[in-house]
Symmetry: C2
Subunit: 209 residues, 2 copies
DNA sequence: TTCTTTGTGGTACGAACGTATCACGTAAAT
DNA sequence: ATTTACGTGATACGTTCGTACCACAAAGAA
């Protein structure tokens, strides 16, 4: 046989090509031929590794979610050893904002998938649409941590705050995407909102914007 | 000639058919034939009143924005003679949440258009994508009104609050759309957030939730 | 009445899409 | 060395889509 290629890696490469095309021309406009050309392979190969377009799309979503997870955890790790819950929350929320090319792609394509899932039950059944729940849990955990350290203002419902923070972050992300706002403005809005959740920092407030 | 039909009305009917199909099967999946069938006319007629599909889509977006504007103002008028800025803001924000079938359609299709506009410059050039700015201005106006009546807590930046409220509302709307949350939960989140913007009502707090 | 418009139906065309089929070379297995 | 399985290319098929074209009936203008 020919040189026994690694299927997993090949599928990843093709999936990345899919995401690039989707980011450039919109998820609705990607065809198998486009993906093949972008990946530098023949149409047949895309068929070979993903028998059908639907499977390709599903894998693309999965791949996207994985890449974002890696990115988010990398950001958290980059914020070296527990810089406090607020900083971690900030890092988490701002990782989701479409600031650079990668996060822009993520936001656009993920939103496209979400919109598609409303009318496509095959996508709706995919567990990655449930990922918002995972993010919600993580955020709630961080907030609860902050609460235990007595860092949040009294009367704050952590679950509710997690929901509103994520909704706000998503909404801000979309407004950046469509060019209504710049990333800095969105970050400011998030910061101001966090100000109302957290107590005033005793002395640690650095140069904020 | 045949019975001299009203073009504007006909175009509206076809546009509504477009929105219905888009709500049912997704905006990406609507074809001219689908719209024709949904409107109960021949394919030729859809071509006749909108020469090209692009023009049909553009008009559909315009029609959607108009319908939503009417809905929002109707809601505001229904809240008879100035029930206070907070109530008006609540009415405005909750009119945008996908609670019933009409607002669900609005939210889904409008979001689809927004996502499309990122990769389609013809849509991006459409002024209805700027409508978020109009909503932002309206909200800011209401908040400023409340500020003048001394109804908001001290230290509130009305412009910033308008932005965060709209972002949150949009994000919550999407989460309702994908089935992650119910409309009631979203409304509660909004209420709680408004609680932090407005002063505690002296005595007017009715049975809230 | 005769001649234009205006609205409408049917249908055909070219392109693009997802998918299926055929063919072939090469590396591993026997 | 022969056979078998794997990776890859090229291409064909059937469908669907947006658009264009042709024909015609009915109503106002001349």
């Amino acid at each position: 046989m020919p040189k026994r290629v690694d299927h997993a890696e090949r599928r990843s490469e093709i999936a990345e090509a899919l995401l690039r095309v989707a980011a450039r021309r919109g998820l609705h406009a990607v065809g198998m031929r486009d993906v093949a050309a972008e990946a530098g392979v023949s149409l047949r190969l895309v068929q070979y590794y993903f028998e059908t377009k639907e499977k390709l799309l599903l894998y693309g979503l999965q791949h996207l979610a994985e890449r974002f997870g890696e990115r988010a955890t990398a950001r958290l790790r980059a914020a070296e050893d527990d810089p406090g819950p607020r900083a971690m929350i900030e890092a988490m929320l701002k990782a989701a904002l479409p600031t650079d090319e990668e996060s822009r792609t993520f936001h656009l394509v993920y939103t496209s998938y979400a919109v598609l899932s409303v009318t496509d039950q095959a996508l709706a059944a995919q567990p990655f649409i449930n990922n918002p729940d995972a993010a919600e849990s993580a955020l709630t955990g961080l907030l609860r941590q902050a609460e235990e350290r007595d860092l949040v203002r009294p009367g704050v419902d952590v679950r509710l705050e997690a929901v509103s923070l994520l909704a706000m972050s998503a909404g801000l992300g979309t407004s950046i995407l469509v060019g209504q706002r710049g990333p800095e403005a969105a970050a400011t809005v998030l910061d101001r909102h966090l100000d109302r959740i957290f107590r005033d920092a005793p002395a640690a407030a650095g140069a904020r914007e």
